[in-house]
């Protein structure tokens, strides 16, 4: 009984029987998984398997047809009216960075704390500078996005998400649009964050990251979770033939 209560509390996110379709096409079916507080879950799978859609459902950017999404003990799938407030507690990082091109790096980071949390400008900027230091580019505060490399832009995007002090970070293929030499600098920042205890869900093809940072690995194919296993067992003991085939393809 006591054990159960403890598990309940450490569970930051719990998705149950989630179903989502566009018209007649079912893109997510019977999705159930959990993320423990302070842990990282990596989602892998072929393109079109619904990984990104699942992330977008988790922070209510997409409506779901069925199922529940419990975040911090509460079913947020039923709280559409408060969606913006829930999203402010969940950080999201996109494949294409999506920095706001008309704002400097610092302004990008300070915008949401100022407008959503009514943080005074000076505090927001000070916090922004701290976060830029955290992602190792303190000197780029006044640079516009188009003056930054892809890797730097993505790190600013991570800082921008962190500025809201999220309880959960969602990374949607954060390194897929990057040149190979820039991938490491972004992954390093993500690793540091998860070592500091940031809870995250990461959609990625970077198996090195999955090996080092993931507590759990979820394999998705055709809108379903095929396999969900602790990271240390996933690469060696995955049982499903579809998982094995996918792993062979990406690990050569």
């Amino acid at each position: 009984m006591n054990d159960r209560t403890v598990t309940q509390d450490s569970r930051l996110l719990r998705v149950r029987d989630l179903q989502k379709s566009y018209g007649h096409a079912v893109v997510l079916k019977n999705i159930s998984f959990e993320v423990q507080s302070g842990r990282s879950v990596v989602i892998i799978g072929p393109s079109g398997s619904g990984k990104s859609t699942l992330l977008r459902c988790v922070n209510l950017l997409e409506n779901i047809d069925r199922g529940t999404i419990e975040f911090m003990g509460r079913n947020i799938a039923a709280a559409r009216a408060e969606a913006h407030r829930i999203r402010s507690d969940i950080g999201m990082v996109f494949q294409n960075f999506e920095l706001f091109p008309h704002l400097t790096a610092l302004e990008n980071i300070a915008l949401a704390p100022m407008k959503v949390r009514s943080m005074p400008t000076r505090d927001a900027y000070e916090r922004g500078r701290e976060l830029l230091a955290k992602v190792h580019i303190p000197e780029k505060a006044d640079a516009f996005p188009d003056e930054l490399s892809g890797g730097q832009q993505q790190r600013v995007a991570i800082a921008r998400a962190l500025a809201m002090n999220p309880k959960l970070m969602l990374y949607d293929e954060p390194t897929s649009a990057l040149d190979p030499e820039m991938i490491k600098e972004v992954l390093d920042v993500m690793l540091e964050l998860s070592e500091e205890g940031m809870t995250s869900i990461v959609v990625t093809h970077e198996m090195s990251f999955a090996r080092r940072a993931a507590d759990h690995i979820v394999f998705m194919d055709q809108g379903e979770i095929v396999e969900d296993a602790p990271a240390n067992r996933f690469f060696t003991d995955s049982v499903h033939p579809r998982t094995r085939k996918f792993l062979q393809q990406i690990l050569h």
Binding site: H84, F94, A112, K115, P145
Partner: protein, 244 residues
């Protein structure tokens, strides 16, 4: 031949200077009304609610489906019989502004749509409300995109303002006409007015390229090839001919 001296006399005479001021004032006020109306219409067209979109479309249908000269005369002559009485100036800027709004809506809308969906998603993911995403993320970027076509509209409006001479507003063309009808020196009076128009359009085109360069520096992502003065004069920027 005393024509050049007479033209010069006209240009510096009080009625012409005041007429030129009136032309500029009508242009600026009408354009501002047009931009405000256009923005509201564009946001209505983006609305999730069909009735709101319907109202916007009806507006566009009415104002784009009738000549602006008709609208001008309508506001000035028909509204008073319903007890709505405006001065010539108010009628002028109201008619021109409301008409302009119907065209500006399209420009505003294309600017808003040119801002990628991912930008909105990123804003919403940060916890911003829809109107905040519009206000702080979409509109500032759209504003930079629409600077060239709005500049064109300004030049178009400057020329369109001559229409209000038909409702007895003392702008350049009416001043020129009145002056000439006193002594039949049409060439000189109209030349004086024409030179004012050319001066304004030229100055504005120069200002426009400064503004566009500034905007390009602050938002290189949307940067397009700079336009030549000839292209500006022909109004090529918006890619849509101005037909009224």
């Amino acid at each position: 031949m005393d024509s050049p001296y007479l033209i010069l006399d006209y240009i510096v005479s009080d009625p012409f200077v005041e007429g030129a001021e009136m032309t500029l004032l009508i242009t600026a006020v009408s354009l501002l009304i047009g931009m405000a109306v256009g923005l509201v219409l564009a946001l209505m067209e983006e609305s999730r609610f069909p009735p709101v979109r319907g109202v916007a479309l009806t507006y566009l249908w009415l104002f784009r489906g009738t000549p602006v000269l008709f609208q001008l005369i309508f506001v000035f002559n028909v509204l008073p019989s319903f007890g709505v009485l405006f001065s010539g100036f108010t009628s002028a800027v109201l008619a021109l502004g409301l008409n302009e709004g119907a065209y500006m809506a399209e420009i505003m809308r294309s600017g808003i749509q040119a801002v990628g969906r991912g930008q909105r998603t990123a804003g919403r993911a940060l916890g911003l409300r829809d109107w905040q995403v519009m206000r702080y993320i979409v509109l500032p970027q759209a504003a930079r995109i629409i600077i060239p076509p709005v500049g064109n509209q300004f030049i178009g409006m400057l020329k369109l303002s001559a229409l209000v001479s038909v409702i007895a507003v003392e702008e350049l063309l009416l001043v020129a006409n009145q002056t000439a009808s006193a002594n039949f020196r049409y060439l000189e009076a109209l030349s004086a007015a024409g030179l004012y128009y050319l001066l304004f359009t030229t100055l504005f085109m120069i200002a426009q390229s400064w503004i566009e360069n500034w905007a390009r520096r602050r938002g290189r992502r949307q940067a397009k090839r700079p336009l030549s003065l000839t292209q500006r004069l022909l109004g090529v920027t918006s890619g849509e001919a101005r037909i009224r």
